[in-house]
Symmetry: C2
């Protein structure tokens, strides 16, 4: 490292926090509504002087919160008014979606100036979503060392260990003694990361051989060799490992940091647990929202952007329900004769959809956490199917009784809806587990597309079974 | 601390892991299918000798994975065969649900013997779900110091900072010098946590005044006072803070550890980031599954247990759809006359349900992450409503065109379904945001109960609007 940059670190965030905390105790997270409202009003009245005055007093953390908590148009207007007065340090503090929106509104020179003040991992985040040309133009103009670091990061696939690892860590040869290590750490000439907890040890070919936490180093005898006191049972991960896999290993092994190696097994980076917390949070949230056809960051998106992404999902749902309605269309004759059928028909379909969704949610989660493996897939299919049968029996009886008393003139209808309920719930639970498993086999994200297939099956299936049985038993 | 216990630490997990890794490279997580299958077969054949032989060679980590990956009955049988040969260290490694199942099958003396070998936080996890009598009986028989620690932990509310904090951390007076601190740390008489990264500093009344990471301590001059080099901008959290709030602060501020204080502001414990990773993971997963009426741990539960929890949810759904079907029942006369109505009716309801669920997923998440605050609630309601209107318009037109060409004999039907679609999607998106907000205001968990209210509204609403309009326009 040639120059010391202000690091976007846990520390800095906490400090911003504290300043605010003292002033405004009640609203623990982010700045208060008063400031936000005064800025929004000033923006509406085009009172640039007031806007600048208020924003001047804010820390980077607070300005980021302000930008997130106003609507898209006010946000763009604020950015325009502030121009180059927005400190580069604000950008890493921003939610991904908001960051992208603001970056899109800036010109190349502005982005280059911002990037040159940030760490390489922050710059990578900034550039990740640009198209290749734009990205290349900006990288070309970065400071030499930063350019090198950003280029190497971007060479790794998106969402891989190589993208999220940091390049500043403390490593030393494992044949050093404790006193060598302490001398190295105490020498002011050696630049250190802003904060570190572990020293990584390597052999002469720079391959990791172990790690040593600072508490062990601190308490060890000066003459001991590092290789004798280090923890040698490390599990280095390849630089192209997917970040979801990395997050999983952190959780599974209780890691504080992960050692990243290149194809030749050489130490190239370190992933720290505080970066993983965000990834775990993002990945699960994404899955949960995708199941309903929504997206993370919708809180910050404009109406038109949300409309675009959600309408695509609704379109597939429309397709599924139109298919289901075609099934109903085939039975118009019996519906005309006996309208009660149309009254009861949606119940079977709806219960099937709910049953299938329960299974789906569990299975999609189990696939993501790797709790569903080749070992227990078959067992889980049987289990979910049995649960479906049990619920099918219960609700067949319940719905049969309800129908019997509600439509006493058609006793046989109670049997029809009972059988239909049992069959559709059994099918729904099978569909709920098989659809995500099959999609996963074909490398499709089960969180995104399972729902539509499920609804197509439970709706069409529910209508068909019920209407078919009604036709057989009642006509 | 009077005795040193084997700690369930990141380290130990990693070691278990590695042993396995060497033997069986491909199956990175958990033991391989061969071992599992051989145990399952031996259990079926009641071959206790073989079971014991296989299990003997397994690490605690691997035995935990084995217990998780066999079905409920095999699990109980395995526990019975192994009896007291199961190492106490296996229990903290187990998934919460599986742990509870096994503990329930053990007698008091067995549980006491296991607990006495574990750390206080692990024992608390073990006892948390027992009823008060059983819990008291076991606590009575614990070793004196452990008893004291467990009792104090359990005195705090479930899911509070007091429950998840650890009591072994390194704290010292802030008026010490760096050389005092190093002397203290190097003295073998002072027992230290198995691993630590930070030293916490307090005033004479044991109130936290700052923290000092080991790298800073290591690189500081011997004569410097700790209070001069410490990071004094700490944000101590109260011992009764909810763990979800704690997790949120970790994410928001990028903390590595949190300082926990009692009502008098005295340092009583520390929460480390590696424990928070699990909590973040659990909380989001729970929310996501609850939205569909499923539960975390369903992968490990028996068919009957899953059936019980899911059928409750289906029952509420049944209620919602029966209400919706009563709406349809009121229009049997027009359905008999024009069966096409029954064909198109489910489409309006289904599109409403999907629209509402998209909004619901985003809002429930935004409430949990505190992205939805009093400041932006109103703005978000307007935004979601506008998105609903946009989608309503789009699908009104689309469905109008489809209907026009599919049922050319009833042109007016295209207009009826178009208006119904627009109205129901607008209502659905409003319901999707208002239901969780209202539930949250009344302190109900929006993830658990929002879905049923939503379906009741979108189904009944969808049917009513469409059937009413059909009656007005077509008859």
């Amino acid at each position: 490292m040639t120059k010391k940059k202000i690091k976007h670190s846990p520390k800095s965030k906490k400090n911003f926090k504290l300043k605010k905390n003292k002033a405004e105790k009640k609203d623990l997270l982010g700045i208060g509504p008063k400031i936000i409202n005064s800025v929004v009003e000033a923006l509406e009245e085009d009172d640039k002087i007031h806007v600048r005055k208020v924003v001047e007093g804010l820390s980077e953390y607070d300005l980021a919160r302000l930008l997130e908590n106003i609507d898209f148009n006010s946000r763009m207007k604020l950015v325009e008014i502030l121009g180059d007065k927005i400190s580069p340090e604000v950008f890493p503090e921003l939610n991904e979606v908001v960051q992208e929106q603001i970056i899109e509104s800036l010109n190349e020179t502005q982005i280059v100036n911002i990037a040159n003040e940030l760490d390489s991992d922050e710059v990578v985040e900034l550039l990740e979503h640009m198209d290749d040309d734009e990205q290349a133009n900006i990288i070309k103009r970065l400071d030499p060392e930063l350019k090198y670091q950003v280029k190497s990061s971007l060479a790794y696939p998106e969402d891989s260990a190589g993208r999220i690892m940091v390049r500043d860590f403390v490593a030393m040869p494992d044949d050093w003694t404790v006193s060598d290590a302490k001398k190295f750490l105490l020498d002011d000439k050696n630049e250190m990361p802003e904060e570190f907890y572990t020293v990584f040890l390597t052999d002469e070919k720079y391959r990791p051989t172990g790690e040593l936490t600072l508490d062990k180093l601190l308490r060890a005898k000066a003459t001991q060799k590092l290789s004798d006191i280090m923890d040698g049972e490390i599990v280095p991960i390849a630089v192209d490992t997917d970040q979801e896999e990395v997050a999983h290993m952190f959780r599974e092994y209780g890691w504080m940091s992960a050692i990243v190696v290149d194809a030749k097994g050489r130490l190239v980076g370190v992933i720290n647990i505080d970066d993983i917390v965000h990834i775990i949070h993002e990945e699960i949230t994404e899955d949960a929202l995708h199941l309903s056809g929504a997206e993370e960051g919708d809180v910050y998106r404009s109406v038109f952007d949300i409309f675009k992404s959600r309408s695509m999902w609704l379109l597939t749902n429309l397709f599924a329900t139109v298919v289901a309605s075609s099934v109903v269309a085939g039975f118009q004759d019996i519906i005309s004769e006996l309208a009660v059928i149309a009254v009861l028909m949606p119940i079977v379909a709806s219960m099937g959809g709910t049953t299938g969704n329960q299974t789906l949610a569990v299975v999609v989660r189990a696939i993501a956490t790797k709790e569903l493996t080749s070992r227990n897939t078959w067992r889980m299919i049987v289990k979910e199917f049995l649960v479906g049968i049990c619920n099918g029996l219960l609700f067949a009886v319940l719905m049969g009784i309800i129908t019997y008393f509600r439509f006493p003139e058609y006793h046989i209808m109670a049997i029809v809806i009972g059988i239909a309920m049992l069959l559709n719930l059994a099918i729904a639970s099978l569909a709920g587990i098989l659809i995500p498993i099959v999609l996963n086999k074909f490398k499709a994200d089960p969180a995104i597309s399972s729902g539509v297939f499920l609804i197509a099956i439970t709706d069409s299936g529910g209508f068909f079974i019920f209407l078919m049985l009604a036709k057989l038993f009642l006509f």
